[in-house]
């Protein structure tokens, strides 16, 4: 990376299963206020560019990007919307800084999932209108198909997927920034109501509301602003194909290729050795296992065995989703990547509270844009005193 940059501000608000008392604008305003306060900046004077992530159909408003400036302090300023996951917006912020176009950039993502009365019907509009959508199925049938093929091709088992749910929901019990913490037995999970076999109702992350804002600054500004900057060492993103007929069914190629890009930038060759922890997409239980293998953190087919051996548990050698992940914290639509990023930044600052890991220096954050997409993004973060 030509220009070094760091996350210097963090704000989140209203992480709950529903938020009837507050509008999406107020939700964003609250998170943004906290992030600017955390960074010690005045957004009206010191933020050079603003980026938000959203999808018109999730918001219920066409051309939604026009509705974001005022609540972010971005009126009459450079602002744009990325129709993608929050980590894709973070990558855009990094590029604005690398090109010298901006010194300080704010990135925002939010979920007002509880405002949707027919979320599955809205979600189904993301499916191919000619070959796929006319079947009229619930969107998660695609996760059932993918999970079945993943388990067929790999050494991982249905029980391993259940252990992911157990681990992440237990982790979330300790995390006050979460909605779905609970202590479940493996049998509770395997016996839960089947939805799209081999998936049961507990294998899918449940939606949550909330807003997340991060402030990114170029090195010179970052050092002046923050005593605990978290450096962005690498980032990458990739989309495989929208078509179900030509995608790779058993593996997450998008995550593998996004990781290659981020690892190359961060000069990482042995991820499990050079990284201390990861917050990866677990929108469905099997996705955590599939993603860990695609990210080359564990060998192909070994993610379940790693979990069973305790390696990816909180006390293990390579903790994964200590926050609780989406299974424990919640699924935040396009803000999901920023939820994971927030948790990783808090870890590297030593501010993660009851879920704090000891002595972590470098971590990985990975997102997936959920069904039916094949888009993923990877970011590598490093603690201030971890610099060369």
């Amino acid at each position: 990376m030509s220009e070094r940059m760091a996350i210097v501000g963090l704000g989140y608000a209203d992480i709950r299963s529903c938020t009837p008392g507050i509008s999406y604008k107020e939700l964003m305003y609250e998170a943004a206020t906290r992030a600017y306060d955390d960074a010690g900046i005045n957004p009206r004077k010191q933020v050079d560019s603003f980026i938000s992530v959203s999808e018109d159909f999730w918001e219920g408003t066409s051309i939604f990007d026009e509705y974001v400036p005022d609540q972010l302090g971005a009126a009459l300023r450079p602002v744009h919307t990325v129709c993608g996951d929050g980590l894709q917006a973070l990558s855009c912020a990094a590029m604005l800084i690398e090109t010298g176009q901006a010194q300080i950039v704010a990135v925002e993502g939010h979920s007002k999932h509880s405002d949707m009365c027919t979320p599955h019907h809205i979600h189904q509009l993301a499916f191919d209108p000619i070959y796929h959508r006319p079947l009229g199925a619930h969107p998660q049938h695609l996760a059932g198909l993918e999970m079945a093929r993943f388990l067929h091709e790999s050494e991982n088992t249905r029980e391993h997927c259940g252990l992911v749910v157990q681990k992440n929901r237990r982790n979330a019990l300790k995390n006050p920034r979460s909605v779905y913490g609970s202590d479940l037995s493996l049998q509770d999970i395997l016996d839960a109501e089947p939805t799209f076999t081999p998936m049961g109702v507990l294998d899918a992350a449940q939606p949550a509301d909330g807003a997340f804002v991060v402030v990114v600054a170029a090195e010179r500004r970052a050092k002046a602003l923050s005593t605990h900057p978290v450096w962005i060492r690498g980032y990458g993103w990739c989309t495989e194909t929208p078509a179900v007929d030509s995608r790779s069914w058993g593996e997450a190629a998008y995550a593998r290729l996004a990781a290659h890009q981020a690892y190359r930038m961060a000069k990482i060759t042995a991820p499990a050795r050079e990284l201390d922890f990861a917050e990866v997409d677990d929108s469905f239980s099997y996705k955590e296992l599939q993603h860990l293998e695609a990210l080359d953190i564990c060998p192909q087919g070994a993610a379940g065995a790693w979990l069973q051996a305790g390696i990816t548990q909180t006390g293990g050698e390579f903790p994964v989703n200590v926050s609780g992940g989406s299974l424990g914290v919640g699924y935040f639509l396009e803000a999901s990547g920023l939820m994971r990023l927030t948790e990783a930044v808090l870890q590297l600052r030593g501010q993660a509270g009851a879920v704090q890991l000891p002595a972590v220096r470098r971590g990985l954050v990975q997102s997936w844009r959920n069904l039916p997409t094949t888009t993923g993004c990877v970011v590598i973060l490093e603690r201030a005193d971890g610099r060369e």
Partner: protein
């Protein structure tokens, strides 16, 4: 914010409805695919002249080489189950009275496939690799839709 609502009785909501209507054009390759299905009960493929990938459904261009595909060919709708799931829930989140099986089906001599319903079978009888064929609507009832295939069923 100095004060917030503290009881849900204070909240105000505006119900909204988005009447989304659209026509989706199938395109050159898509139209040919749907016509082959409607008129002859066949599946149309197209092949990339550069990498030899055979697309099903037929496409105008290759996503690997960015080349126009050639060699359109029709194949019989017979394939095998690449993966399957038993759906117990409908799109409204309600329990289905009768679970519905969905499968991704691959077809010999192609690199593609289709997601569709599996019928004339029971969940415990289905397995990955199982051979299936399309159960088509009678010719005069077909409209040029993926639903001209009622479902795939075990090959007789």
């Amino acid at each position: 914010m100095l004060s917030k609502l503290t009881t849900s009785a204070q909240t105000r909501q505006w119900p909204g409805h988005i009447p989304v209507e659209y026509v989706y054009t199938a395109g050159i390759a898509g139209e040919a695919f749907l016509r082959a299905l409607k008129d002859r009960g066949m599946l149309l493929t197209s092949q990339c002249p550069q990498c030899q990938t055979v697309y099903l459904p037929a496409r105008l261009y290759c996503e690997q080489c960015f080349e126009e595909t050639k060699q359109y060919e029709e194949i019989a709708p017979k394939g095998w189950v690449h993966t399957y799931t038993v759906a117990h829930v409908d799109i409204d989140g309600e329990a289905l009275a009768v679970p519905q099986i969905y499968a991704f089906i691959r077809f010999g001599g192609t690199n593609g496939g289709l997601i569709h319903r599996l019928g004339q079978t029971q969940p415990h009888q289905v397995s990955i690799g199982m051979e299936v064929e399309a159960l088509l609507l009678p010719g005069k009832e077909r409209t040029g839709s993926i639903n001209d295939i009622t479902c795939f069923q075990p090959t007789k």
